[in-house]
């Protein structure tokens, strides 16, 4: 019996390690393919170069870094207020009968494949923007709106957990001191759950920066530096997605190098989120 358990334990350990091993393998491969190109063109020319013309050996991804953050910022401008409002409603005001329907509906948002979001954006949102605001329609604005919806489930589920994890005495105490329900939420509960809410936003940000398929469809993928929300743009992920099929040699390595940059951004965001939620636990 003892032996059998030991064996099962070891097998489980092996399986657990295999997923980490695969992660290490992917990381190694991305760096192995990408680093030579960064060294070749120079880190500064790669990160801060403004021209991406692989056929001429120009591999500047600065416009894509800027675009990635721009699209993400736009998504947060929409996602944070909507997400926070949803969270407050869900945790404080919702009648149980509605909640039974509402929560799964929010989770369903996360289950919709991103290509569907992209298709919806392309067919509905893009013509709307083109006809009413000008520009080609395929734009940062369209991308931001779609991403804003895509990050809602992340923001809502994690910040609702943060609110739920608060000791009931906070709310009871505030109400007993004569605060209204709204004052309790705004002055006591939200500030107390702040680090969890911030963590949810940062994870949403990671989700937004990593999104590829929908963005290829609605950003227009132009490689110049965007100057307005109505401009077409190319993010780091879409650069890889749109060009990988055709790339070879230096061009292919440059796409892996783009992946390295993305890797560091996502790592930084996730580390920050983990750090913040740990602080909350203390």
């Amino acid at each position: 019996m003892q032996l059998q358990e030991k064996i099962i334990e070891k097998i489980l350990l092996l399986i657990a390690f295999s997923s980490i091993f695969i992660l290490a393998l992917i990381t190694f491969f991305i760096f192995e393919e990408g680093i030579p190109l960064i060294l070749k063109v120079g880190a500064k020319a790669f990160l801060l170069g403004e021209k991406w013309i692989p056929s001429k050996g120009l591999f500047g991804i600065f416009p894509m870094i800027v675009s990635s953050f721009w699209v993400t910022l736009g998504a947060l401008l929409l996602g944070i207020p909507l997400g926070l409002a949803c969270t407050i409603f869900l945790s404080e005001f919702i009648p149980p009968s509605v909640g039974a329907f509402f929560r799964p509906a929010i989770q369903l948002l996360a289950a919709i494949p991103s290509v569907i979001y992209g298709f919806w954006g392309l067919i509905v949102l893009v013509p709307l923007i083109r006809n009413h605001l000008g520009g080609p329609g395929l734009s940062i604005l369209a991308g931001s709106v779609v991403l804003g919806f895509m990050i809602l489930p992340t923001i809502i589920t994690i910040s609702e957990d943060a609110l739920k994890a608060l000791p009931p005495s906070y709310k009871a105490g505030a109400l007993a001191l004569g605060a209204t329900h709204w004052q309790t939420i705004w002055r006591v509960l939200i500030p107390a759950a702040r680090s969890g809410i911030v963590a949810s936003v940062i994870l949403g940000m990671g989700r937004a920066i990593g999104e590829t398929m929908a963005m290829i469809m609605i950003l227009g993928n132009a490689v110049k530096m965007p100057t307005s929300f109505l401009d077409s743009a190319r993010t780091l992920t879409t650069n890889i997605g749109i060009e990988m099929g055709y790339a070879s040699g230096d061009h292919r390595q440059a796409l892996f190098a783009t992946g390295i940059v993305l890797f560091f951004i996502i790592m930084a965001l996730n580390t920050l989120a983990i750090f913040l939620s740990r602080r909350r636990a203390r």
């Binding site: 056929s55 893009v126 099929g245 055709y246 790339a247």
Partner: protein, 250 residues
């Protein structure tokens, strides 16, 4: 009792411009040879060339001419394809000179108004770097002039057509065989992109569709190539809007 699938199939991979036609030919071929398996994959011209070199594909497909380093491959032109410059059907222009097209795609002319059209910005739509269609367009039309970095980039002929069919201000280029009534093909300096004008040499925006082999074609791959070059297959390509390479088709 495992699944015992015979591994005799051949893989044809590369240019997304050639892919739909290769699929059609493969279907036709497989209906004639029920035991044959031909797997057609996209990936792009450059990927097709790489795949032919590495042996990942038995046949590589390319919609651009090979550069010197790639000339070690055995290349067979299976058909020719014209590239059409397309706009939205509501666009008032029907004819543009080559110089005007260069000015538009380089971003020098930014509004249709500058050429006497409506007061709207021009939305340039191009293909991504590495695309055979883009490389041919660059070579035949733009020459040394760069395509504007502000151009929208779409990653297939179909996606370019989709964007242009829904944007009245857009201009782009796709394979002539894929032009439909949702977009309008422009005359270039008075020459209509048509099979007749490609054949008589008046329309020069023409690129080859290549099948690439690492060494001489053998066995199934050779048999498929022979079929593709046969009059019946060429007739099929003609019907799909390509320019056959075999004389006296049909």
């Amino acid at each position: 009792m495992g699944c015992q699938r015979s591994r005799t199939g051949i893989t044809v991979a590369g240019s997304t411009s050639v892919e739909p036609f290769a699929e059609l030919l493969a279907e036709e071929y497989m209906s004639m040879h029920p035991k044959a398996h031909i797997y057609v994959q996209g990936g792009g011209s450059t990927a097709g060339i790489v795949a032919a070199f590495s042996g990942a594909a038995n046949i590589g497909m390319s919609s651009r001419n090979l550069i010197d380093a790639e000339k070690k491959l055995y290349a067979v032109t299976i058909a020719k394809d014209a590239i059409a410059v397309i706009v939205h059907p509501s666009n008032p222009f029907n004819d543009l000179s080559l110089d005007k097209i260069i000015e538009i795609f380089s971003g020098k002319t930014a509004k249709w108004k500058e050429m006497g059209g409506p007061d709207h910005p021009i939305d340039i739509v191009t293909r991504e770097e590495g695309s055979g269609t883009r490389e041919s367009f660059q070579k035949f039309v733009m020459g040394k002039v760069d395509i504007s970095l502000g151009a929208l980039v779409q990653d297939s002929n179909g996606a370019v057509r989709q964007v242009i069919s829904s944007d009245a201000n857009a201009i782009g280029y796709i394979s002539l065989g894929l032009v439909n009534d949702r977009v309008k093909a422009l005359r270039i300096s008075g020459v209509q992109p048509s099979l007749a004008n490609v054949n008589n040499g008046k329309y020069t925006l023409v690129r080859p569709f290549l099948f690439l082999f690492n060494g001489d074609p053998a066995e199934e791959a050779k048999s498929f190539l022979d079929f593709v070059l046969s009059p019946s297959a060429q007739k099929l390509l003609l019907k799909e809007g390509l320019v056959p390479v075999v004389e006296k088709v049909g």
